[in-house]
Symmetry: C2
Subunit: 570 residues, 2 copies
Amino acid sequence: MLEKYIKAARCEVDSDLVLKNASYVDVFTSQIRRGDIAIVDGKIVGIGSYKGIKEIDCTDLTVLPGYIDGHVHIESSQLSPEEFASLIVPRGTTTIIADPHEITNVCGMAGCEYIANASKSVPLDVKIQLPSCVPATPFETSGAILNGKDIEQNIGNDYIFGLGEFMNYPGVIYCDADVIQKLEAAHSHGKVIDGHAPAVYGNDLNAYLCGGITTDHECVTKEEIEEKISKGMYVHIRHGSSTQNLGNAKYITDGNMRRFLLCTDDRHAADLKEKGHLDDALRRLVAEGLNPVTAVICATLNAAECYNLKWKGAIAPFYTADLVIVGDMSQFNAKYVIKDGKIVAKDGAPLFDTSKRYLPENVLNTVHLGELSENCFKLTLKGKKAKAMTIEPGGVVTGCEIVEVESRDGDVVLEGTDLLKLTVVERHKMTGNIGKALFKGYGFKGGAMGITIAHDSHNIILLGDDNKSMVKACAKLKEIGGGMVIVDKNSGEVHSLTLDIAGLMSSRDADGLQRDSRALIERAHSMGVKRDYEAFMSLAFLSLAVIPKLKITDAGLFDVEKFSFTDINA
Amino acid sequence: MLEKYIKAARCEVDSDLVLKNASYVDVFTSQIRRGDIAIVDGKIVGIGSYKGIKEIDCTDLTVLPGYIDGHVHIESSQLSPEEFASLIVPRGTTTIIADPHEITNVCGMAGCEYIANASKSVPLDVKIQLPSCVPATPFETSGAILNGKDIEQNIGNDYIFGLGEFMNYPGVIYCDADVIQKLEAAHSHGKVIDGHAPAVYGNDLNAYLCGGITTDHECVTKEEIEEKISKGMYVHIRHGSSTQNLGNAKYITDGNMRRFLLCTDDRHAADLKEKGHLDDALRRLVAEGLNPVTAVICATLNAAECYNLKWKGAIAPFYTADLVIVGDMSQFNAKYVIKDGKIVAKDGAPLFDTSKRYLPENVLNTVHLGELSENCFKLTLKGKKAKAMTIEPGGVVTGCEIVEVESRDGDVVLEGTDLLKLTVVERHKMTGNIGKALFKGYGFKGGAMGITIAHDSHNIILLGDDNKSMVKACAKLKEIGGGMVIVDKNSGEVHSLTLDIAGLMSSRDADGLQRDSRALIERAHSMGVKRDYEAFMSLAFLSLAVIPKLKITDAGLFDVEKFSFTDINA
């Protein structure tokens, strides 16, 4: 094998593909250089003057190493890995560090395996981080639990790259035995451990790092970045759909530059489609004044070093020929994307087939519900005063308001109020758990709407003002195997969107999914959901019992500030 | 285990050792910071405010990560690994990438194993690179041959870190099958491969790098450095006894800084003792204007990254507590050296015992000679004109001069000339091979002198003007198991210095060895060796058939420029 590379490097034979007369970013010296880039059997064999069996004239183009997304949950796109790849590879991303935290909460290790296997058919290197915190909190029923022993049993699997973001930082700091077991398992296999430690400083940060944790993508301030880098962490600059911190790039200096990476974490299909992936991050970073070569180094070499991806992240002999050819380094429009030496995308379109999708039984039909009746959705209060959840427009932060509400037949009367019932219906273990709350100010009227995406355990978030419609909504979600649903009590119509893969992702193509998704969202607004909110996705975070102030899980109403369940009766 | 670190990090328990109020180099941000550095069970657990069971007041001191020597042949010190460690650890070096090329040429894999095992008792991490080029050339008889198959069989050994400097760059470039087998074996085990490619550029460099080779320590010019770094190599700045390129540090820029390492390659005991090791390199680099923090980063983090030494090369939580505490960053005088959390040296003196040395039989008594007679050393010429080797003062470069010489009884007559017989006596396989040459201008008279260090196969380099003395010298070298010898034909006295380990290194302590070595060298000069030369060590390179112009091996006289053996008769 080496012989073939060496002979081509010396021009004894023509190379498979030569990028003629290319400008390229030399990430090792932070320079832009020029030369022919010769590729053989998936590897760069030389830069100089070369002849290729196939050649691309790059006289007016710039070649960059393929981008590496340092931390991403594919599930947030609601797309299959194949379809996800068809959106991001044409943008120039050739490697991702994927943490299948969401699907693993639903399906357990089968979720991890699915992401790994589904990714095999696409020209994208998908490194699977074993989710470290399944479930994310003990306050809800998840589809799976990965305890220390489970991590021990699975972390050594060949298809597992490392241990995913360790969100349970109190568990590390306070030496929870199960947490320690997980961390030690990862170390015993020499695997990298991603971090997640918002606003952890000083001795607590030292303690967290003594878990052997390497990265953070939650930095907010200059001081936080400086401390974390200084203490050995790599810091991801994040370009998600909701959560972004591109502004952190202004803290990059010559002295700390090698410790910054890029990631997207959670990015919706619409953003991937319309704005892009890491190419969009690069575009914005450069627009905001970051040196384009530095930006590229963060997206390539730095990530390769952080994750010890050998022979990746650079344009040099023997390096993997994962390359992006862009028009310029302000727009980063990818003319060609090359993966393992093959042209896999051109002018933003994939050249690979994703029509045949891997779809194993064990990630389908994941909505497990027993018989539900209207009585199940009755909300019985002790008196007239109760706590109601509110939600800040646009965000995931919720509030708590004391409201007065009438009751009749052991159920609240919502007519004439700005209140809805907000429930979390357990959908994994058929426990019959339904957490119930009052929800104020969302605007929806005349039926029910629900979704099987509910961070992080992904039960059903279901709201409504009519118990019959709520039962119907659940039945529909069970029937379609998960997704989103709206029931109109007046017309009796049921409208839905299927997310057949674990109730989180669709096996369809992005275009069809988006079209139908937009229609359903529009219907929700037409039934009153205020346009301040993302009709369905704002719901998906109402169960995330780590973000203030009041959340709802299948086990009840949760006061995040007190970190305990709370009585709805005020 | 993690629990213990974490609890100490949070000050729930006192740390084992705290470096109080220390200035320290933060290699991740290129800053000097201040804090207490807390150490538990060999790891740094935190930087901040800490209390220790033991504390060192570092108010006026600066703490650096322990230095990493990226490429060194321990054998060049003529010391055992234990004694070598006793000299370099107190200077601040805590990890070395050791290539036991010399001893492996003599003893084969037993040489590698010896270096690995002997290093176990000292507080120095010795990463063993399996020598890739044994023998270095096919033009001499070595004690061992490691062919492709041997490399395949041994590269996967636990104690083998990687593949040593690949000096046979023509073998790579021209795809020698045995060479390819060696490289592929290293790759198949995921091992790093060190390079050695002086003045290899352009497509040849591309081809060399297509062997998957990572480093180079032979750079001379700015252009060479720039091309090599740009093509993915790490470049060692070398501070050997003879070969130095500290001046290359002036080509360090913010953009390429992370690709520079420090190494010593070959450094004599006297230099280690009197000038130092990497501390001396740092001192000189800073004196020549390199930013001290940059210099430290090259000696620490960069090397750790290049060789993927996890949790080494930095001062941060969870990193290995390999530390040097210096007075300042101009002199780099090590007040304390800490290895795996333990104070192992103070004020330049080791605190560890090296008196019990590992000394296996298979590296001793390595001088294998059959019966030798005076006739063996007769040099029979066809006529009066012959080629004579000359040697440039101070260097290893030799010349060729045509001389006129009389013969008598089938032997040259040296009386009244400036000529000596220079021979290489094969000492591994008892082949009886003796390569013979004329040697002009060295100055020695009246007997014989010889040494069992003869790069790279380490036969006996023996010169003299009296055949009887030459026989006697060989007998003495055999008796002592290798080393250096002088025979005075007039007095009949034999003076020697024992290098009992493979004929290359002494099992004694450095002081005694140096004292006796100086005395023997002085004796050589008193017998006429010109002071332009290092009496013995200048001889050791006369067999190195890759350095111009004329060399001598046990197989005969070799014209390096023609790259073939040559007739002594002119």
